[in-house]
Symmetry: C2
Subunit: 441 residues, 2 copies
């Protein structure tokens, strides 16, 4: 492979031609449409898109019966928690956290995180996710796994200031940002990850803001996830979590705020005014009994909303199709209004708006000049027939198993449903062994 | 094949042995568990279940890495509406019905229904559904498709008394019941299908009840689906839809009542007292903006709740895994209580309680003497690792694509994901052609 890629010592740019595929176009922010054509990828960039392109490529993919989409973005997860899938379900939140999740997290080793992340990456790549946002610990190991898997990621060291030495943790986070931001040929970007308003007091938040400004990176955080959080923060500070963040200067940065379930109108105005990116995690919010985020109101106000799966201990899979579908269905039912959160909106939440939430300016559309993060869906299945409306089929009918090919940064990392960069059997064995150790008493 | 099955002119019973598979057991109505063993099927019946069975079989299936479940039951759908998948989404209910669905339904031919049903059966079998309940029109064609496909079905001619000649329709429904109930080697059963309280006045309902008693069959109906229905019925009769049905004697029969979204406590008491089987269709209720059925309250009262997909024009797929998952997630989130509708309850809703709702007394468990309706899931996928809790994985992580093998009435109708009884390509072609004709002006 090295020989093929290098000519006279210089790296030659590999090229891919996807022929006769139905391509998703963003005609405007309002309208999505599909048109058949070819996509030509050179190196990490989409070079051209059009009808019957007259080009030669190293790899030619037959796109018939397939649909080409910009890769999906899972804007909020904790990948390593795939280790705890199915370990604690249907429990009250305090028992879930105190008696189940925190005790097993306390036992995690860096190698456990490495293998847990690999399981999550395998699942996400199989489901067409080409970029994701994560906040957890042992992030060096996560970054190594991302480098190997070939996926794109925005990674943050989770910061909790109410235990241990907060300054030491912040220094570790700074070290992570300086080591990994821009690595893996630019596929890894970094943010600072203050965990939540109830674990990061305003003084600490200000230190994080200062560090983020210094490194020129954004903030990934949890915000207004549960009713109890909001009540506790009001008791402590006499204001809402969103207001606490605003006062501490957090919202002056690029902010990716996960959940935003319990908010006032004024909170939403603040998010809008500061250009905060909200990540809606509908299945996690339902499963943990957190509630239902006011997504239709946020969309109406023009707040950019992305989608996330959250971790596999509260979902329990990392399937962005399900989040799209749940987002598109849930708000219609809760508000008795079948016109809310359209299929087009849900698809944008899972692609272009997700890319924007991660701060990826050159990702999220199939257009010349954009990064080549492309997913091919196989439409040759009964649940995707008859072929009438591709957008509706993708949001309301399709699933992860319909993903056939995944290209990230111009490299094919999955073909015919087989992930080329990860060893499935080895991952299953390692994860099974490690989870059994973690959950044993 | 005929030669193999017949010995001396008598049909020999084919046998299947599934070896070393993880089997779902219903230890009691409260507890589900898995245990590894073998399942031996002879003819249409599960002959024995246990460790290392010492039997010989015509077909031996290696069950390693697989999970054996009783087949899933989709207790309420309109299969032929698969023709309209993706045709009308995100619209107000009156426009969806008046301008989209009813006009295309008016153009349907018996052959359209036959092919639409075949598409639905292909999708349902691929998703592990071994029995389903349907109410629609041109039901002779649906029964033919069911006979060919090898699935089990409870079929009802939909009866609307506010247009046309109600008595003529009832005679047609009687004809359907007398022709098809017990056909296809017993796989087809029939019910009467009065559409809903707002389309069937009490006088007509009484006629239907009388016919159902005469033929000894049950009732499949829609009930209390929308707020508007309840308001309209109150205006007309001064009582709730459930009370109208009770007074007309409907609830004295075996009743499968789809939706039951808008109900009072008293309505639920009536359903409980009459042993009515409720079919929860969470995704359809969300998508059409109908609302959220009070499932936790119904379960608490002891009302048996099954699951349905409803038709593909309001869902848009026929995936019972998604209905299980939505049922298990939705009520937790809406009620801010993560202990409501457990994974075990959702799995029972999709199997044994579904079978009971269809009146199938000998279906829904893997036990000696029961009908051999069995589904094998392949657990060799990242979203089903690590292997900790099969029930949680099936409800919160699995999907239709994990179904590997489907056995109905002792016959293998899907193997390694390939449906053996239906011609996929032919179905796709017919459906595409017919839908294009139906939706053209």
């Amino acid at each position: 492979m090295a020989g093929k890629n290098e000519i006279g010592g210089r790296k030659r740019k590999m090229s891919i031609l996807i022929k006769n595929v139905s391509i998703l176009f963003f005609d405007s922010e309002e309208e999505l449409s599909f048109s058949e054509g070819d996509v030509f990828v050179k190196g990490d960039i989409i070079e051209s898109v059009g009808k019957k392109l007259d080009v030669e490529a190293d790899v030619v993919i037959d796109g018939r019966d397939k649909v080409a989409l910009p890769g999906f973005v899972n804007a909020h997860t904790h990948a390593a928690m795939a280790l705890f899938r199915g370990y604690a379900d249907d429990l009250p939140l305090d028992i879930w956290l105190n008696e189940k999740i925190w005790p097993v997290e306390a036992k995690l080793t860096p190698e456990d995180v490495y293998w847990g992340v690999k399981l999550a990456l395998l699942e996400m790549i199989k489901g067409g996710i080409t970029a994701y946002g994560d906040m957890y610990f042992f992030m060096d190991e996560e970054a190594e796994a991302v480098t190997e898997a070939g996926i794109r990621a925005s990674l943050s060291v989770g910061l909790i200031a109410v235990a241990g030495d907060p300054s030491q943790k912040l220094r570790e986070a700074e070290h992570f940002v300086s080591r990994w931001n821009g690595e893996a040929e630019g596929r890894i970007t970094a943010m600072f990850g203050p965990h939540a308003p109830y674990t990061c007091p305003p003084g600490f938040l200000k230190e994080v803001v200062s560090a983020a400004k210094q490194y020129g990176v954004g903030i990934h955080t949890h915000l207004a996830e549960t009713k109890k959080e909001v009540e506790d923060i009001y008791k402590l500070y006499g204001k809402s979590p969103v207001e606490v963040y605003e006062e501490a200067g957090v919202l002056d940065l690029h902010v990716l705020a996960a959940h935003c379930v319990h908010m006032t109108s004024r909170d939403m105005e603040i998010l809008k005014n500061h250009g905060v990116f909200v990540v809606h995690n509908p299945q996690s919010n339902l499963k943990l009994g957190s509630g239902i985020a006011p997504v239709p109101e946020m969309l109406k106000k023009g707040i950019p909303v992305a989608l996330g799966t959250d971790g596999a201990a509260s979902n329990n899979n990392l399937d962005i199709f399900e989040e799209m579908r749940t987002a598109a269905l849930l708000h219609k039912g809760v508000n008795l209004n079948p016109t809310l959160v359209t299929a087009s909106e849900a698809l944008k939440m899972a692609t272009i708006w997700g890319a924007e939430a991660l701060g990826l300016k050159n990702v999220g559309k199939i257009e010349p000049g954009k990064k080549a993060d492309i997913v091919l869906l196989d439409f040759n299945s009964p649940h995707l027939q008859p072929k009438i409306d591709h957008v509706a089929h993708i949001v309301y009918s399709a699933g992860s198993a319909d993903v056939d090919t995944v290209i990230v940064d111009g490299k094919i990392i999955m073909k015919n449903g087989k992930v080329l960069t990860l060893d499935e059997e080895k991952i299953y064995q390692e994860v099974q062994k490690r989870t059994q150790r973690l959950i044993s008493n």
